[in-house]
């Protein structure tokens, strides 16, 4: 009798023991940030399973807002969109730095992200992938396009595309000699900048072939030659460059716009252990290089660029010299409520004839 109980106890403990540690990590991220091979390696090493949902900044916040921060265990919004979302909707929980292997992160990026994602004394974000948005230009046909405002030039009329989203407003403001980031906390001043940009973009509208929505759409437009100059992400330009050497990413004269995508923990995430394991796993230099090779963007991992393909490095260096890197405008945290002003401006541009 006793032995039966003892055996069944052993059987039960051995059956439940691995289950108690292995969790399902529901990851809300961008396309390319969680490649199949990385997931397979992570699952083999830790026993956790990973479910990936790809999305973008706005949809990540909307999804988490709908569930008050549930449904996912780890999300990757850009660092400038974290504090306002936390202030308005309370959808994240603070990062426990003691569980993060901080020596894997480039110290300056870790500090900058921590400063930008601090809300009421708690840090909410860790840096992961960074990159820029600027111009993707077919240099053979539109070599004159050097800055955002050049998209309104008559020489490229009807062959231009950009998004009707906030990066377009910011980029145009900089190339018009304004400083929108400095006006972030002054609503009146910011509205004034938005009004000038609205006038410019309305005037520029006949030049635009179509406003693009997704990354694949703009790549198709550029690849087919229907569009010769556009606002887009650096990776998109480098990917196209591999197919057609004429097309590449150009850092605008007024400065490329720099973003950092982060790790944040949704407020009602259930698998924190798996989330921290994932963070510490993907920041290892070898894994970071694998992610850079699929996503096309560099990471905040120390030595993460060592294993990156030579082609990608060459394209990166072709687009960014030291001045261009120093001139990158990094997005500061967006104050809550600013999106409403920008939204009204974008709606008016969309409706203008």
């Amino acid at each position: 009798m006793k032995t039966t109980i003892a055996t069944s106890l052993i059987v039960v403990t051995t059956l439940t023991a691995p289950i108690a540690h292995a969790e399902t990590l529901r990851l809300l991220t961008w396309g390319g940030y969680a490649p199949e091979e990385v997931i397979a390696k992570f699952e083999a090493e830790t026993g956790h399973t990973v479910e990936v949902t790809t999305s973008n900044n706005e949809e990540m916040i909307a999804k988490l807002r709908a569930t008050n921060g549930g449904g996912f265990d780890l999300a990757q919004p850009s660092q400038d969109r974290i504090t306002s979302a936390q202030e308005e909707f309370g959808i994240y929980k603070p990062i426990d730095m003691s569980r993060v292997h901080s020596e894997l992160f480039i110290p300056s990026m870790l500090e900058a992200t921590a400063a930008n994602t601090t809300f009421e004394g708690e840090v909410y974000g860790l840096p992961h992938v960074w990159g820029t948005s600027g111009l993707v230009v077919n240099t053979a046909e539109a070599g004159a396009v050097q800055d955002y405002v050049d998209l309104c030039d008559a020489s490229v009329a009807g062959k231009v595309s950009y998004r009707l989203k906030r990066p377009t407003l910011i980029g145009f403001a900089y190339s018009m000699g304004l400083d929108p980031f400095a006006a972030y906390n002054d609503t009146g001043k910011y509205q004034d900048i938005l009004n000038q940009v609205e006038a410019k973009l309305t005037e520029c509208k006949p030049n635009v072939k179509a406003y693009w929505g997704g990354g694949d759409e703009i790549k198709n437009l550029l690849r087919s030659g229907e569009v010769v100059a556009s606002m887009a992400w650096d990776t998109g330009g480098w990917q196209l460059n591999a197919d057609n050497p004429d097309i590449t990413f150009v850092a605008p004269k007024s400065g490329a716009l720099g973003w950092i995508d982060t790790f944040v923990l949704p407020a009602r995430g259930r698998a924190d252990d798996a989330a921290y394991d994932w963070i510490n796993f993907v920041m290892r230099p070898d894994i970071a290089a694998m992610i850079t090779n699929t996503a096309g963007n560099f990471t905040a991992a120390v030595d993460g660029d060592a294993g990156v393909s030579a082609d990608l490095k060459a394209r990166y260096q072709g687009s960014f010299d030291q001045t261009a890197i120093d001139n990158i405008k990094w997005y500061p945290p967006v104050p809550a409520g600013l999106e409403a002003l920008e939204g009204a401006t974008l709606d008016r541009i969309n409706a203008a004839n």
């Binding site: 916040i61 909307a62 807002r65 072939k209 179509a210 969309n350 409706a351």
Partner: protein
């Protein structure tokens, strides 16, 4: 005893539909309405009021977009009817047996793939470097590439294509029920093709026409993919605007109000259509 059992059976049969109505239709709308009457004052501070509804009527952009969407949907419905009626008439009256089934099937086959794929199909056909533009250049009709995508006509093509099945099916059903001898009698009494169409066929098919029109109008008005993908830089669509409020502006309050207004205004347009065509909803839906 027996009446108790039949009562229980009645309630059991009723339960799924009541549950469906309550959980999937009524409760979400109550929730949506509550969100739509809360106005945002500051972060996490809300006040009850009808300010979001006032925004719709106060900002010309919103009601103009709604009017544009409604007018284009009505136009799409009319075009679908004009295109769908001859097809339905041919299937119902001029074919028999296997041909009839084959033709009906051919109308349905495009709907076996998702709407997204069909819309991408149209993009491949219509774009500047697409099939139509290239073919026209090869046969020498035009000298340079021509852009057929990103305009209102492209949206119209997409909408008609997406919804034509929902016009053809009710029309075929009602036209099937029309006795052929009535048409023959019409000819025997000296009627012309137009007068028979006007006096016999259309009055008989009216419930099918009206129910087809209601379905197509609602589908077009509530369509999101087709106008967004095929439309150009000036092509605003009301559902796209609701999406923007919810997703990119984080303004669920205004988005909910716009959603409610879409429901109310489109119902009003359908009601008006029924009154004008002198049909009742129960009559159309019952017979079609």
């Amino acid at each position: 005893m027996r009446s108790d059992a039949s009562k229980l059976g009645f309630y059991l049969l009723l339960a799924p539909i009541v549950l469906w109505l309550l959980v999937l239709i009524i409760l979400p709308h109550v929730g949506l309405f509550i969100v739509s009457i809360s106005e945002k004052i500051g972060p996490r501070i809300y006040e009850t009021g009808f300010g979001n509804y006032a925004t719709f009527f106060g900002e010309p952009l919103y009601w103009r977009t709604f009017a544009r969407t409604a007018i284009m949907s009505i136009l799409a419905t009319a075009l679908t009817l004009i295109l769908g009626f001859p097809i339905a008439y041919y299937i119902a009256k001029l074919t028999r047996g296997r041909t009839k089934t084959t033709l009906f099937l051919m109308c349905m086959i495009p709907f076996w793939v998702s709407e997204l794929v069909r819309t991408f199909g149209w993009m491949i056909l219509l774009r500047e470097t697409g099939v139509i533009s290239t073919t026209l250049q090869i046969i020498g009709v035009i000298s340079g590439p021509i852009e057929l995508l990103y305009n209102d006509a492209a949206i119209m093509v997409g909408l008609v294509y997406t919804s034509i099945l929902f016009m053809v099916v009710p029309l075929v059903t009602t036209l099937d029920s029309l006795d052929d001898s009535l048409i023959e009698a019409g000819y025997d009494l000296g009627g012309t093709t137009t007068s028979i169409l006007r006096e016999i066929v259309i009055p008989h098919a009216m419930p099918g026409i009206v129910s087809g029109c209601i379905v197509v109008f609602m589908l077009s008005l509530g369509n999101y993919l087709t106008p967004i993908l095929l439309g150009g830089k000036d092509s605003l669509w009301f559902t796209g605007m609701i999406y923007n409020q919810f997703i990119t502006r984080f303004n669920w309050e205004l988005g909910s109000a716009l959603g409610f207004l879409l429901l109310a205004l489109s119902s009003a347009i359908v009601f008006l259509g029924l009154k004008l065509s002198k049909q009742s909803l129960s009559n159309t839906m019952g017979r079609a």
